[in-house]
Structure formats: structure tokens, C-alpha cells
Amino acid sequence: MPKKITIEPVTRVEGHGKVTIQIDDAGQVRETRLHIVEFRGFERFVQGRPYWEAPVLVQRLCGICPVSHHLAAAKALDVIVGAGTGLGLTAVGEKMRRLMHYGQIFQSHVLHFFHLSSPDFLFGIDADPAIRNIIGVVMHHKDLAVQGVMMRKYGQEIIKYTAGKKIHGTGAIPGGINKNLSIEERDILLHGADPLNADKMVEWSVGALAFFKAYHKNNKTLVDTFAEFPSNHLSIVRADGAMDLYNGVLRAVDTEGTRILDDVDCQDYDKYIEEEVRSWSYMKFPYLKHLGKENGWYRVGPLARLNTCDFIPTPLAQREFEEFKAYTHGKPNNMTLHYHWARLIETLHAAEEIKNLLIDTDLQKEDLVVKGKKSHRGVGVIEAPRGTLFHHYEINDNDQITLANLIVSTTNNNQPMNLAVNHTAKSFMNGQKEITEGMMNAVEVAIRAYDPCLSCATHALGQMPLEMTLVNENNEIIDCKTK
């Protein structure tokens, strides 16, 4: 009799996301779905609000990377107030925002690696769940845990000094910023007491990379084959092809590395990207219009960014990038667990970039805001920690928002995450008599590699609570397991 297995990451009892797996008579996985169960309705309820509220309102959709929403909204509004598409800001405006953003990338990547994923690496995917969590890391690998805590703190401090507050700050405003960085603040961040200074952060980032590479060396088959599947990749890149997480043009490559989108102005994003609605999830499924639903979907995030860009403009990260590229002979990398590798290279890049920005005296300049000729439409695109984030606003003559459209990073990764779940379920569960806790965690490990933000609750602080129910075709529960 066909069965349905439900893995509810934060379950019916906690919301946000869950997985269902259907198994047929022969014990073969037939269909898998990652459902997003939350709906907010912001597209409608921000209508009528004055446009300048957007950067502080919309970030409250996500407290894990609020800076990304804050900045994407501000960038869209730069266009609306006639301050160009991001490059039109003053030097201090642009660089303060960059500092805020790279601080955010740094803290978010650190959180993901140390607090969420390291337990899987340290203890093993099928280790005892009682220790396979951040508290286990604190108990058994205190040094590593302390590094994670202090690195995250450093990133959060940068956000505090640039945005005014660690979570849901106010630093970016349409056309610029509302504060610069004082000399005292700069010195705290640049030369703070050990370990909270820029050099230590670079050093520890190198260490985290070494940790992952050693793990990779010892677990090659797992890391290289786990949920590996071909896909397109999309991100913004600087006009010269460099990695740039704050501003750039849209670029996408296919699984062979051929550019299928190149040099696209972000203001035109809606000419190239479309989304499909499926009845079983609140999260839409984006794809490149010209390739269609079937072939046009793509990955975003650290792995995609290393596949689309030509080089990384800081020396240590560039060296790591070259090693990363050599591993796949210059071709795009499609290995899901290599997201972690890519994420740590970006962490190092962020640390280097932060240091470069801090020694730049432009940050102490006083011309904070620019304004030009007002227009009624603006699009802001940024590379959030988890991938490309689109904000699109239109306003009326009374300065009220009349349209808001957001495609968030995790939405861009919707199809790849569903495929990763499918691959993992098939390779771990096909033909198995019993579904073990380790198999269920494997499915989570696949999802976790994408660092999904909408299921924030499910992964933010560690392992997701999991419940699996075996159900027959009439939806009667045959068996129920909780891990």
C-alpha cells in the first residue's frame, strides 16, 4: 500500500516549513514536497504606506538577515528619489552601506556554519541527536563554539555601528544613509581588543575554511555526491565580472558554464524572471522566462555566486576561489554540500572587504544623502547571504506605495531545494524497510545546505525538531516517529 511520510521540520506545531514524502508499494520514493506553510501578505498591506517606510517595514519579514531587506528596499528607493541605481550615492553613502552589508554577510554565514551546520560535521549526520546541536558543540568543542559566538558578535557590532541597531536598524534611507562612521567607532572595529578586531576575523575565517577542507578530504564521497544535480546559477556580478554582493548586473550560467543571462540591468528583472504558483506551498517557483518553467529554474546563493563570477576582488579569497574552481576544472560546481565551501570562501572575502572598508577615510565624510528627479518605479537587487534578493516598488503622486513585489533568496532556491529533498529521499530511503532518524536528518542536511531563510525557525538555532508520520492512502496514520 502506498505510504506518505511527513517530515515536519518545525512541524504543525511550529510552522514555517515541512516535507512530505510519498512511498509506493514497492518501497520506492514517488513524490517529495517541501511545503512553506507561512503567509504574510506584505505585497498588499504595504500599499498605501509612504515609500520611505519600506526599508524599516519590510525587513521585519525576516530577522535573520534584516539588513538585506533594509538595503534592497533602500536601493529601490534610491531610484525613486532620483539617486541612481546605487552607484549614484556619495562615496560615504555607498561605502557605509557596503560595510553594513558585508558585516551582515559575515555574521549570517558564521551563524549558518558554526551554529547550524558544524554539528553535522563534528558529530556526523546520523549521530545521536542529543549532542548533534549547538549545545553539543559548546560542550564538546568549546573553542570552536567560542569562535562562532565571537565572529557573529563582530558582524553584529558592525551592523550596530552602521545601522544604529543590531536587528532592524535604520541606517539606510532613500538616497543615502543617516550616519557616518566616527573615528572612535572605526578604531573599535579595526583594532578592538582581542578577538574583536578585523585581523582576527580574517585569521579565524581562514581557520574555518581549513576545518571544512579537512572534513571534505576525509569525507569526499559524501560531500561530492550528496544531492548533486545539474542546474543553472544566477547572481549579480560587478560590471567587470568580479564578485560584488552589494551592486551589479544580473548574470546566469547554465550547467556547462554558458552564459544564459548576461549584463542585465536589475531595473529590467521582470522582463527575464517569472514565478509559478503551486497549490501546495505559499512559496512561488521562479524561473528564467526565455527558458520556461521546465528548464529555466536556477540556484542562487554562495555556490551560484562562485559559479557566475569571474574572480573575487580580495587576495586571500581569490586564492581560495582558484582552488575551488580547479576542483571542477573551471566548470560550474553542482554539488549541494559545496555550498558550505563556497559560503566559507565568501566569509573570508567579507572579512577582507570589511577591513578594506574600515581603513577607507571616505567613511568619515559628511555628505550623507543625494536627491535627484523623482520617478515612480524602482527596483533594488542585492546578494543577500542566501542569494539574490529582488525588491520592486511603485508609488503614486502622494508618495504612497501602490505596488510591492519581492522575490526573496529562499524563493529563488525553491526548486533546487525541492530537488535536493527528492534526491536525498531517494538515495537514503528507496527500498528501505525502516526509516531511521539518520535518514530523516539527511533530508534536513540537504535543505540546510541552502540555508533557507523562510524556515528560519526550523534551522536558525540548530537542529529542526522532526516528526515523521507514515500514512496510508486514506491519510490514516500507520506509524509516527519523533526524533
Partner: protein
Amino acid sequence: MEKKIIATTSLAGCFGCHMSVLDIDERILDLIELVEFNKSPVDDIKTFTKPVDIGIIEGGCCNSENVEVLRSFRKNCKILISLGECAIMGGLPALRNGIPIEECLNEAYINGPTVGLNTQHILPNDDELPMLLDKVYPCHEIVKIDYYLPGCPPRADLIWEALVALITGSKLDLPYEVIKFD
């Protein structure tokens, strides 16, 4: 001293309040000495396995599942705290309260500028998706709440001071700057 048992959850929140708990930084190491976590996203415990001393709620209630979770927290926790604006008064998600829910769904899934050809006007609707409530409700309208910690999110220092006071039974002295309603 016996460790106090803590449980936490995120309902219709953005997880910023949980992040603010993490912003106690190094003090996390002290917290782990003082308390034991039960049902919470910080560990693998999905259902309450023992009576809990302090339950911390982030977010209000926007769907049937949120209500269920909140009720189970009330049943299993001696003390319940509403953490942050969303739990206390619905917060940003409650901006939809003056708008019919169909309008919100239509805007997201039918009228949106990047929605592909959706000629059948599909809206998400599936047994696996919980029922949306007509409005977003603050937690104290559903169950009794014992303490409220304001802020969006509440500052890490406020969370830390309040928890230590509750755990150790000491008097709580909150300077004005720590209690922020932003």
C-alpha cells in the same frame, strides 16, 4: 541550584527576537550553565518532555497552527513570556488586519508583476497548509500571558536581565534605556 527548564517558539514572527536572544553573545555560555532547554528550535526536542518553568513566545497568531502551539505552551509552561511587538500586539504582520485576506492572497499569487501565466488563478490551498486566521492576534488574546518584554526586537540586555531575574528570583532593575518600544 537546579537548572530551570526553558522552552521557546516562533509563531508569526520574523525570528528577530530569537536572534536578539543570541545577541547576548558570550553570555550564551553562562546561560547554558543556568538553564536546560526543552522544546525549542535550539535542540531536537519537538514535544514537551517535562514540565517547563519558562516559555518564551515570539510572534502573534496568524494561522491555526500558531494557536495550537500557543495553547500547548500555556499548558506546559509555568510562566509564559510574550517576547517582542509581534507577540505583544501582532506587530508588522498585523498590518493585514484591516484588509480582507483574499486581497492579500490575490496580490501575491495572481496580480504580482512576476507571476507567470496563472490563468486558472491558483491560490495555495492544500491539506498540508494550515488555515489562515481572519486576523493576526496578539498572544494574550488567546491565552494568559505572565510577562511582556517590549521592543522590536527587545534588546539582548533586556532579555538577559529578565531571564536572570526570573531564574534566580532576584529583583529586576531595568534602566529606562533598556526598555525600548521601537
